[in-house]
Amino acid sequence: MAICILWPMLQLAQFEPMLLIDPNNTKVMGDFLVQFIPPNIQLEFLSLVLKATVETLAMATAGIALAMIIAVPLGLIISYSLSISRIGPTSDHQLAQFVRFIARTLMLVLRGIPEIVWALLLVRVFGLGPIAGVLAIAITYGGMLAKVYSEILESGNTLPARALILSGSGRVASFLYGLLPNSAQELASYTIYRWECAVRASVVMGFVGAGGLGQLMDQSMKMLNGGEVSTILIVFLGLVLLADYISLVIRKQLV
């Protein structure tokens, strides 16, 4: 039975291990890999890499900031703990359900489509460059943050907010005074964690032309310039470690 499933799978994936040792391929790959050592550390190239690194960080930061602008209203709309319509039989029950359904669908579409697909599409609107990347991060992470925000708001202690709503305060006021004080820490810490993911994602998005380190790597790779690729890879790994570290430090401060 295993063979019955495996065989068509191997066919579909065009699994041909012989290609790995095909002399043509090994030659291209070998020539390319040999150039990896030493990494290219010419000053001119390094300054280019530095610029791309700063751009990558700026993309992630701006992207997350915009994502929050999308996520906060969506999260508040979706969260059940702020639902006024669930208190009792009111006339706008149907409407509230409908709005929530729309918001949930929107959220699903935003985060269901991978960020790199958004980037690929947005590059066509805004042209090559970091702006498409920023917006792609904003859209995907906006959807993700909205989902997690609403979950955090529901998982915490919802009694204060409930009490406020029941005694007649509005949704926004009961959020600010009833929910936010309890869950602010968790919300902030998750946002920062997502920033770290955005740094990683913004590198990858360069491959479709959305700026940052990835775009530089894509160019070097297309020119088969191994030295440059290895420099960028090293810088990239360093950047990911740095982002990890920064996010860890900030999250520790929050606790």
């Binding site: 790995l20 391929n25 701006a62 690929l120 202690n157």
Partner: protein, 268 residues
């Protein structure tokens, strides 16, 4: 999140928090300035109109039978790439996990951990771009790329599982005269197998998602179709591919959530 309501007085003025808030907002604003991106520009009438026009070109999606047939092939290919990669990586990872768990001494442990970390810190897409150079365009490159990355992740996870597994049962076998390989296969593997399986399934889920986009660098699957259709400016076809991707991701999400609920239920 405690159920108690805090009765401490509201916190007094906190210089450190204020400073941190200032630094973070300063950095955020300078990012926008650095990218010369003004958020207000995005919401102007012209920008909205451009966006609406662009989105309009994607409707209606191409739902002709011919094209749907092609999409189906793309989905199958995506699934095949991810399943094969996960399977191969899982098998190799069982071998890697031995040195990672420290069974062959500290040097082997350190080396194999470094190897795993290296494999998984290079993103899948970069591996895919490299593998396209190594074996040419096509799904095989995608399979290899996913295999490499997944090996790094699973090798580490399997190794840690092995490390945390009590060695009493395999010791008993060794003491009663069985070989090392046999004691591993019959003493250790059965007790960690469910954990390994659940890690592998989880990785498969991630890999399906990854396999849909690896095609952007020419490594097969749905991504390659999307890239191709968009390059030809055939938005109607592209939008069908995007819908297929979305459905695939949502479906996989739903199935895995369901499975996890069943598992939780079984555990009590």
């Amino acid at each position: 999140m405690s159920a108690q309501i805090s009765i401490q007085p509201a916190r007094q003025f906190c210089l450190k928090c204020l400073l941190m808030l200032l630094i973070i907002s300063g950095l955020t604003i300078s990012s926008f300035i650095y990218l010369s991106l003004n958020p207000a520009d995005l919401f102007t009438f012209q920008a909205m109109k451009n966006m609406a026009e662009f989105i309009g070109r994607f409707f209606p999606p191409d739902l002709s039978a011919d094209f749907l047939e092609k999409i189906w092939q793309g989905i199958l290919q995506t699934l095949a790439i991810s399943a094969l990669a996960t399977l191969i990586a899982a098998v190799i990872s069982i071998l890697i996990s031995l040195p990672v768990s420290g069974r062959f001494g500290p040097i082997a442990k350190w080396l194999s951990r470094f190897f795993c970390n290296f494999l998984r810190s290079v993103p899948e897409l970069v591996w895919a771009a490299l593998m396209v150079l190594a074996v040419g365009l096509g799904p095989f490159a995608g399979t290899l790329a996913l295999t490499l990355h997944t090996m790094g992740v699973l090798g580490r996870l399997f190794g840690e599982t092995l490390e945390n597994n009590p060695i009493a049962s395999s010791n008993a076998l060794v003491l009663s005269g069985s070989g090392r390989v046999a004691s591993f296969l019959y003493g250790t593997l059965p007790s960690i197998a469910p954990q390994l399986l659940s890690y592998s399934l989880y990785r498969w889920e991630m890999n399906i998602r990854m396999a849909t986009i690896l095609g952007f660098v020419g490594a097969g699957g749905l991504g390659q179709m999307l890239y191709y259709e968009l390059s030809l400016l055939r938005e109607a076809q592209a939008s069908t591919v995007i819908i297929a991707m979305l459905l695939l991701v949502v479906l996989v999400d739903a199935i895995s959530a369901k499975l996890r609920r069943i598992q939780m239920h079984n555990l009590g």
